[in-house]
Amino acid sequence: MKQLVCLSKTPETTTQIKLTGDGSQIDSNGVNYILNPYDEWYALVRAIELKEAVGGTVTVINVGDASNDVVIRKALAIGADDAIRVDADPSNALGVAKSIANNVKEAGYDIIYCGKESIDYNGSQVPAMLAELLDLPFVALATDMKVDGQTATIKRDIEGGSETVEVQTPFVLSAAKGLAEQRIPNMRGIMQSKRKPLNVVSSDVNDAKTQISGYALPSGKSEVKMIDPENMDELVRLLQEEAKVL
């Protein structure tokens, strides 16, 4: 089984988002970056589990600059065999998908994993775009996967429940919670990761039909109104008359 996992880099989940002085950018000062949790905890670990069961390889790919090498090495420490970094600006989803597609089109991966979404820009776009560019079936929001030969049986989230889908390799999936359990890299993995190949390639994709033209922070909440626990009638009245939600 030849597997590929697409990794994005995101700010750590406790990051307080601040804007730069003129409000034109997100302030990256003091921000810690991690592998996108959906990619690391679910997609990557499921791919490694499958490799452990049936053999083959797990390659990881990231589109971004050299500062991403640290988090890519973490994926190698968790158990990926080798890595590709496409040295390009990842700010446009279609550009990212094209960069990945161009680099993997000829490689013949059986399963290509993405995360459900990057937790920074919450796009949920790259996986579907990649599937279309590679003309492959795509199963979004996978929470469980069994593989038997070339047939995968995948459970995925749908509105108000789940459904089970059968698909043949090759295909693309996006990983949601449940697909696997987070793994912490051990010392041996960390040592080995330093010697595993991380190939840097360039990209001539230039896609700019969608651009961020500005940022804002959500308007702050007004002060919380504390209600006397002995007076739930008052809370109900406020919910009905002031907030108008009941």
Binding site: I119, Y121, L235, V236
Partner: protein
């Protein structure tokens, strides 16, 4: 023309689908264009989508589209868009929307925004659209250039409005290949309250509940107002509640009108999934619980005492 892909749930249209139609109509008005809707499969009263702003409905039936497959649905939607001259495609940002939005954008080589939470504004011939980023911790404004645009709309970002009247339904056909994935079973909750992403009222509880056997008071409160129940992540992780109830950064992100949280501390990852709620009520016995800072109304007390009292007070107000 603006084409809205309207999700068909066993012949019916859910609120999210109607919201997308209203969003489509308002976008079409902005562009000085028309809003048409596309329905796949049989649906009663497809013409009633006109009430929400469509001026024409295309109805497409094809055996290859009998169950959902992102590849064939993308062929179908982009096929109709091309045949009928649609430049902008609008969908709901839900499970099927997530599987389609990016595919459509790649196929049409279009500008794309997923999870729009406000109507677009015009900037020359470009559209500007706001969406939440960093799980609601910031908002970005996107500029979409180029002729073709694909937009998915977050649920509860606007209300479906009756701004039109029933319209013509035209049967259409397009070539679609045989699907390469097959849905073999579905497990959907039937009846009961709305699924979390669509719910307007949500009652949620966390580790402060001490154990799954105590959830009766949460369910009573939810039942009395017709709310959907939710929980924090550790509660789902330890199996006290089913996984689909987990809200937050790594669970479902919701934006109901009312979110009542009992025995949840309000960790930043939890808030990330619920801070878009219109009104937040927090019940916690710890006055320092961070959730109070994000709340509209707070009750600092033992939830085992307060939650039943709140249920009683609502019963009384309703009587």
């Amino acid at each position: 023309m603006v084409l809205v892909f309207v999700e068909n749930s066993d012949g019916k249209f859910k609120k999210a689908a109607l919201e997308a139609v209203t969003y489509g109509r308002k976008t079409a008005d902005l562009l000085g264009s028309e809003c048409h809707a596309l329905v796949i499969g049989a649906a009663d009263n497809a013409g009633e989508l006109g009430n929400y702003g469509a001026t024409k409905v295309y109805q497409l039936s094809n055996d290859n589209l009998n169950s959902f497959d992102s590849q064939t649905y993308t062929q179908a939607i982009s096929g109709v868009a091309n045949d009928k001259g649609a430049s902008t495609i609008i969908l709901s940002n839900n499970a099927s929307g997530m599987a389609l939005t990016g595919r459509l954008a790649a196929r049409l080589d279009a500008a794309c925004v997923s999870g729009a939470n406000a109507l677009p504004t015009l900037d020359g011939s470009n559209l500007r659209i706001k969406k939440n980023i960093f799980s609601g911790k910031a908002i970005s404004e996107m500029t979409l250039t180029g002729e073709k645009k694909v937009i998915s709309v977050t649920g509860n970002s606007l209300k479906p409005e009756t701004i039109g009247s029933p319209c013509e339904v035209e049967a259409v056909s397009v070539d679609v290949s045989a699907p390469k994935s097959k849905v073999i079973s579905q497990d959907k909750q039937t009846g009961g309250p709305a699924p979390l992403p669509e719910a307007e009222l949500v009652v949620s509880a966390g580790r402060g509940m001490k154990g799954p056997e105590n959830w009766g008071i949460i369910e009573d409160l939810a039942n009395i107002i017709g709310a959907t129940t939710a929980c924090s992540r550790p509660v789902a992780d330890t199996g006290w509640r089913p996984h689909h109830e987990h809200v937050g950064q790594t669970g479902v992100a919701i934006r109901p009108n009312l979110y009542i949280a009992a025995g949840i501390s309000g960790a930043i990852q939890h808030l990330a999934g619920v801070n878009q709620s219109k009104c937040i009520v927090v019940i916690n016995k710890d006055p320092e619980a961070p959730f109070f800072k994000a709340a509209d109304y707070g009750v600092c007390a033992d939830l085992f005492d307060v939650v039943p009292k709140l249920t009683e007070a609502i019963k009384k107000a309703k009587a």
